[in-house]
Point group: C2
């Protein structure tokens, strides 16, 4: 019980990374453990594309920023508005200069795809934290549309990106942000 | 690293429970740990309704079965078809006679609600497994529409049920089902 609590506390969303690569074997181990997550009807629909190359990660960040900006310009009332300045800043890398990004994908038409992939992401983040690695689910990095980039990632048209997750050694581990007490709507006994 | 792997292996979807109640304090502890999950922009949108009363759980099971059957009858080609016989069996309790069910809910209109709640559910399942408790995410139990039952659960109209999760002491812990190796679409270095 103490162990699980320590693990949960150890996992933080990390936005500053050391300039140190994650060995491919470690990435594969973490992916194997991610697949122990439950899924609807044990379908295990998750698929992974790993990018451990900084120029490629930068191109993917630029692609997602470009598409989000176009969306924001088409619809200025979009909730993306709060990210407008960041998205317009050419220096901003949505992936925080992490040395590795894993795209967690699943079948576009599967009803449970978001929940199933989120469960695998949760295992991914905890398996990484147990190894002293940091992660961050970067929703702003999911908007990859360029067919050439998608092909490079191996993401075929029937798949969608549910979660791009950064992976790397943390420069430092920040204090956890404040947590609310659980909101319990009812407790029927 | 070994600990996290042991924890992941210990968590199984449990469908047979001992006739033994889960102390309310333990449920609250697990809910507190569930709230350590990450969420989009740290919004922590999860809400919980706990039912630890067998007749109430049975009524909720019957309500969900009734609504799913009506859906299946309206659309015989529905993927629910595979559950037709089970749903028509009056003895079948979608919650496997668990002594406790927790409904994880979130704002109906929030785009990230499914992913955020799935992350909390994952923490819930692991926090329970660390205590020797079993859980199962029962999608068939989510179809509660009766306003009186929803009011009893404290689930207001702006909220939706993302995941009903059973909680109880396992009668036995089954062997893990087969897992596929991670499908890695690409590994760019």
């Amino acid at each position: 019980m103490d162990d699980v609590l320590n693990l949960f506390r150890k996992r933080r969303s990390i936005r500053r990374y050391l300039d140190r690569d994650v060995p491919a074997g470690v990435v594969r181990e973490i992916l194997r453990e991610s697949c122990l997550a439950p899924s609807a009807m044990n379908r295990q629909p998750w698929r992974f594309s790993v990018v451990a190359n900084r120029p490629a990660i930068r191109r993917l960040s630029d692609e997602s920023k470009k598409n989000l900006l176009a969306e924001l310009e088409a619809n200025p009332a979009s909730p993306l508005d709060r990210y407008g300045d960041l998205l317009r800043n050419p220096a901003f890398n949505v992936f925080y200069d992490a040395p590795c990004v894993v795209y967690v994908c699943g079948p576009r038409e599967m009803k449970s795809v978001q929940a199933d992939c989120a469960l695998a992401v949760s295992y991914f983040m905890l398996a990484a934290a147990a190894r002293g690695l940091g992660t961050c689910w970067v929703a702003l990095g999911a908007d990859v549309r360029d067919p050439a980039l998608l092909a490079q990632l191996g993401i075929t048209p029937e798949l969608r990106i549910v979660a791009p997750v950064t992976l790397g050694y943390p420069e430092s581990v920040p204090e956890p942000p404040a947590r609310s007490e659980p909101v319990i709507l009812g407790f029927l006994r």
